[in-house]
């Protein structure tokens, strides 16, 4: 065995990775550094190349072009069993012919460790399932299998733990619980986690850093708050939560702010939230940042007037309004229900206002619909 590769530690570095299958390019000139000890998420819709990227890190696929380094060791072409990297597979892939104990001990035994009892029992306690040691995988529930798959990987104390949609097969409630648990376990064991998911909420809940992938490329990388508040592309703005994107143009500056004109109405936005390349922009505002007011109510900040309430949906924590603007675009507004009743009715003439700092600007030549209509996730995507 290549012990030099197996003992490698440090940041994971992908350099200009491309993976093609015939004419199809799954991953396109991707470069990425994942710092040691972080909880990193690769987020994207089905077929965006995130699983292929993960499989290349695991060694189950070889990149067509590019290199992968772990610390200073080049692991681009080393075999999966020569890498200090373990994977929690999408459908867990527990060995059906072995007991839970032997499943977990599998990696330790293959590395020639004789006395596995202590390590296995310790990790079984960590996932709170010590009583299942002698069962077979088929006798476990989905949530239990998920934890055993995690235990089987972390017992090896890999330099890197890869999670391939690990919560995809669980129901919503269990998924939320496991999200918190995974985050806790990552802190507890201090390993680098790389998590692949199509669920933006899951990525935001767990990861320190998220890389949003689309069509084999990384659209944007950053902390969850950074991506949400300051998206660089329409895809990120729409894939992470919802956005209202309004066509307009930049017309001037005002100190640290830029002034934009949206269908004849002037607004301002922070200079550092503009990703425009010329004067043509899409101004972006998250639905919960908008406030609605009746025409006679005085408002501050940015204002778009001439709206008419088209639709009202009361959903408990908030009320969602569709507001038709004079230029024929429907804007989405989420209002907290903190004052009791929904005060606006369908047909009300209203103004929409918001704090200028909540505005971001995207390039005007973008597809404003990018990332909104994502193909339903196929869980068996390879």
């Amino acid at each position: 065995m290549a012990d030099s590769a197996n003992s490698a530690r440090g940041d994971l570095k992908l350099t200009r990775i491309t993976k093609s299958y015939g004419d199809f390019t799954a991953v396109d000139d991707l470069s990425l550094t994942i710092p040691e000890g972080s909880f990193f998420a690769l987020l994207g819709p089905s077929g965006c190349g995130k699983t292929t990227t993960l499989r290349m890190i695991a060694g189950l696929e070889e990149p067509t072009v590019g290199s992968i380094h772990l610390g200073s060791t080049d692991i681009t072409t080393t075999k999966p069993y020569q890498r200090p990297i373990n994977t929690v597979f999408q459908n867990y892939a527990l060995f059906p012919h072995l007991t839970i104990f032997e499943n977990i001990a599998f990696g330790l035994r293959r590395r020639g460790i004789k006395d596995v009892d202590e390590a296995v029992n310790k990790v079984l306690n960590l996932v709170e399932l010590p009583h299942l040691a002698q069962r077979k995988p088929t006798q476990l529930s989905g949530g239990q299998q998920q934890r055993i798959a995690l235990a089987r990987a972390i017992v090896n104390r890999p330099a890197l733990l890869l999670l391939d949609e690990p919560l995809g097969a669980l129901d919503l409630k269990l998924r939320r619980q496991m999200q918190i648990e995974l985050k806790w376990i990552q802190k507890e064991v201090g390993l680098t986690f790389v998590h692949v998911t199509h669920d933006q909420e899951e990525a935001m809940t767990m990861a320190d850093t998220i890389a949003v992938m689309n069509e084999g490329k990384i659209e944007q990388m950053g902390s969850p708050a950074d991506l949400y508040d300051n998206p660089k592309t329409a895809f990120v703005a729409n894939f992470l939560g919802q956005s209202n994107l309004i066509k307009g143009s930049l017309v001037g500056t005002d100190g640290d702010s830029l002034v934009a004109e949206l269908f004849g109405q002037k607004i301002s936005l922070p200079r550092n939230r503009s990703h425009a390349v010329d004067s043509s922009i899409f101004a972006g505002i998250r639905p919960e940042k908008f406030r609605i007011s009746l025409l006679q109510t005085p408002v501050s900040g940015n204002v778009l007037s001439g709206g008419k309430i088209e639709d009202v949906s009361y959903i408990g924590v908030s009320t969602q309004y569709q507001v038709m603007m004079p230029w024929g675009q429907e804007l989405m507004v989420f209002e907290q229900n903190d004052d009791g009743v929904a005060p606006f009715q369908i047909g009300d003439a209203v103004n929409i206002s918001w704090e200028p700092i909540f505005t971001f600007a995207l390039r005007g030549d973008e597809d404003a619909e990018a990332g909104t209509e994502v193909i339903p996730e196929d869980l068996d995507e390879e």
Binding site: M1, L60, Y81, F89, L94, F95, P96, F106, R110, R152
Partner: protein
């Protein structure tokens, strides 16, 4: 009492309707009884006549005896024929299982030139009429100046058993989740360890089923054996030859014993797998 009163309050259907309703409800059971009767009458007949105090010919019931069961090798050549069949069966099973499993892995797992052709060709011995296969094999042996006998028979049996082994094992390989092998590799098992620790144990039930099938096909074979065995007598050949002058009751004893052995194996297998599921 209350039950009876209730019955009285329900209007009774005419008898014809009642009968057709009963038949409708029990049709599948009736059908099952007929099907199993049809299947098992020959077996029951064989078993019953293994107790016939028959003397030379076992065609007419002459009285009940345990003698045949106490002395299964009593009739001349029965046990040497049985011994030959078992020997040939075991050898053919071993060779065809090893060869067939390797072919199944090659076809099921690897992309190579001529893979779909091999996939098709492997079916040919199954599709070829036995009489043709037997005759061709004989002429082939004669061309190579190999005289018919024990080993040519083993070789001939391997030829047709291999196809069945390949088909059986391949089905098992196809149902194997490739992610299990990937998981093994991910957990520091090299190619050989992955095969030994994960692939082989998971395919093993398929291989065992294939071996049982190969043995029973070989043990049972008459046509191909008759062409290629020369002076060596197998159990089916013995039964065929003695049919002319009367099959001894010992043949029924051995036939019945084989049946009950197979039945016992199936029952044990069922019980074991059910226990595994429960525990």
């Amino acid at each position: 009492m209350t039950v009876k009163q209730k019955d009285a309050s329900i209007p009774t259907l005419p008898l014809g309707a009642q009968i057709s309703r009963w038949i409708g409800r029990n049709l599948i059971r009736i059908y099952m009884v007929f099907a199993f009767t049809y299947l098992f009458i020959p077996v029951a007949y064989t078993f019953a006549f293994s107790f016939n105090d028959s003397g030379k010919s076992n065609l007419i019931w002459k009285g009940f005896t345990f003698d045949n069961w106490m002395n299964p090798c009593g009739a001349p050549e029965v046990c040497s024929a049985l011994g030959n069949s078992i020997k040939i069966g075991l050898l053919a099973t071993i060779f065809s299982t090893i060869l067939g499993t390797m072919i199944a892995f090659a076809i099921g797992r690897y992309a190579f030139k001529g893979r779909s052709a091999s996939n098709l060709l492997i079916f040919l011995p199954m599709a070829t009429p036995e009489i043709v296969l037997g005759a061709s094999l004989l002429s082939l042996f004669l061309v190579f100046q190999i005289s018919p006998g024990f080993w040519p028979t083993v070789l001939a049996h391997v030829v047709f058993c291999v196809s069945f082994v390949v088909v059986t094992v391949k089905a098992r390989i196809a149902s194997l989740d490739p992610r299990l092998e990937q998981a093994a590799m991910d957990l520091y098992a090299n190619e050989f360890q992955t095969f030994r620790r994960v692939t082989l144990p998971l395919v093993a039930p398929g291989i065992a089923a294939a071996a049982l099938l190969a043995f029973s096909l070989s043990f049972d074979d008459f046509i191909i054996t008759n062409f290629n065995s020369g002076t060596v007598t197998t159990f089916p050949k013995f039964v065929y030859v003695s049919a002319a002058r009367g099959i001894p009751a010992q043949a029924n004893v051995i036939g019945s014993a084989m049946f009950f052995l197979a039945l016992a194996l199936v029952i044990v297998g069922q019980v074991v797998s059910r226990k595994r599921k429960v525990s």
